[in-house]
Symmetry: C2
Subunit: 238 residues, 2 copies
C-alpha cells in the first residue's frame, strides 16, 4: 500500500449492516399496514434485490444518472406492490420515512474505531452508490468521521462502471494507484483493480444473514486482506 | 434561522486567510527566482485578481466548467509573466508546489472552535469555488471538521451562478430555505438569498490587508450578523 494517500470505502455491507437496519424499520411499517406476517429481513432482501437492476438502467444509458434515493423509492413502491400493498394508499410522509431508513443504517462495531485510526494517516471517504445526502445523514447519525463524501452522485456513474472509480481518484487530485478501495465485495474490488486502484478486502460474512454464501473469502490476492476495520488499521500501521 | 438544517460556508476570505497564506509561500519562491524585491502580499493580490475573470470564462459558457486548481495554475503562470518571470524556466514541481499553496491556507482563529460547536447542531460543509481536493487537503491540514466537501466542482457551477447554490441544496436533500450560507462577502450572500437560501454575514475586515474597504459591514439585513464563527455559534444556540 506504499504511496496510497486515500482510502475509499464501499458502504452498504462493508461499512453498515443494511439488512438489519432496513428490517428494523420495515417491521413496524409492515405491522401498521396489516402485514405483520411478513418477515422484515425477507422484505429487506426483496427491496435490496431491486438495487442492481435499477442502477443498471442508468449504467446502460437507458436512463440518465438518477440518485439512489429516487431509485430506492421506486423500488420500495414496487416491492410493496409485489407484497400486495398499494403504495398509493399509504401516506407520502410514511413512504418517505421508510425510504430514508437507508440514511439510518448502523455501522458494524469495528467501523468507527477503525476509521478514526485510519483517518490519522489517510484521507478517508465513502465511494458508494449511495447519494450524498444519504451518506451524509448516515455519517452524521453514526459518527462516521469521513473527510469528504464521494461516490456515484459526485462521479455521476454507478459502480462498477470505471468512471465511478477513475473520477473519484481524479476529484481527489490523485492517481488511481494512490487510492485504495476497501470493500467486502470481490466484484467491487475487481473493478477497482482494473482501473488501477489498490484494493483491501474486509469480509462481512453476515451481510446477507446467517446463510450467506457469497464473498466469504477473498477471490483474488488483494493488496490487503483484513478481518475488520481495526485489523485494517493495524495492518496499515495506524 | 428556524428550519435551517445545513450551514454552507464561503471559504476564501471567510474561513481562511488566503492573502497571508499565499504571501508566506510566495516569498521564498520569489527570492529563489531573484525577485526578493517583490512584495509577496502584492503578488498574492495580483494572483487573486485573476480569479474572478478566469471563472467568468466558465460561467459565461465560453469554456466548460474547469476546476479551480487548473485556473489557479494558469493564473500563476500569467502573473509570473506579468512580473517578468518565465514559468517555462521554472521546474514543474516547483510551480505545482506553489499552486498548491491554496491547499495550505490557515483558518482565522475563531474558525475551528466555531465550526466544532456548529457541527453539533447543523450539517456543515464548504460551498466554495475551490475544488474538492483543494478543500479536502485544506481541511485535513487545518482540522476543519466538515461533514462533507461541497461547492463549485460538485455543483459544476461557479458562484454566484444560481446553480451553485441550488444544486448544493438539492444534493443535500434540502429545500433552499433549509440551507444558510455563511460568508464575509455581501455579493455572495445576495446571490444566495436570491435563490432562497438563508444568510449569515461574518465580517473579515483584514481579508485584503489593513487597507480593506470592501465588505466591512453588512449591505443588507442578513438573517444573522455575527462577529466571527464563535459568535455565530452562540447566536445559533450552539
Amino acid at each position: 500500500m506504499e504511496g496510497v494517500r486515500a482510502l475509499v470505502f464501499d458502504v452498504f455491507g462493508t461499512v453498515v449492516d443494511w439488512r438489519e437496519g432496513i428490517a428494523r424499520e420495515a417491521a413496524p411499517f409492515l405491522a401498521r399496514h396489516g402485514r405483520a406476517d411478513l418477515d422484515p429481513r425477507a422484505f429487506a432482501d426483496a427491496w435490496r434485490a431491486r438495487y442492481q437492476p435499477a442502477m443498471e438502467e442508468c449504467r446502460s444509458g437507458r436512463r440518465p444518472f438518477t440518485r439512489l434515493d429516487v431509485l430506492h423509492r421506486e423500488n420500495l413502491e414496487a416491492v410493496l406492490r409485489a407484497h400486495g400493498l398499494d403504495p398509493a394508499g399509504i401516506a407520502e410522509a410514511e413512504l418517505d420515512a421508510l425510504n430514508r431508513a437507508w440514511h439510518r443504517l448502523d455501522p458494524w462495531p469495528d467501523v468507527v474505531p477503525g476509521l478514526t485510526r485510519l483517518k490519522a494517516r489517510y484521507v478517508i471517504a465513502p465511494l458508494s452508490n449511495g447519494n450524498v445526502a444519504l451518506l451524509l445523514n448516515m455519517a452524521k447519525r453514526a459518527g462516521l468521521p469521513w473527510d469528504a463524501i464521494l461516490g456515484a452522485e459526485v462521479a455521476q456513474a454507478y459502480k462498477p462502471q470505471p468512471e465511478a472509480y477513475l473520477r473519484t481518484a481524479d476529484i481527489l487530485g490523485l492517481a488511481p494507484g494512490q487510492v485504495a478501495l476497501v470493500a467486502a465485495h470481490n466484484g467491487d474490488l475487481k473493478a477497482a483493480r482494473a482501473c488501477g486502484l489498490r484494493t483491501a478486502f474486509v469480509p462481512r460474512p453476515r451481510e446477507h444473514g446467517p446463510g450467506q454464501t457469497s464473498d466469504l473469502a477473498p477471490a483474488e490476492a488483494w493488496d490487503v486482506i483484513a478481518r475488520d476495520f481495526e485489523d485494517l488499521a493495524a495492518r496499515l500501521g495506524c
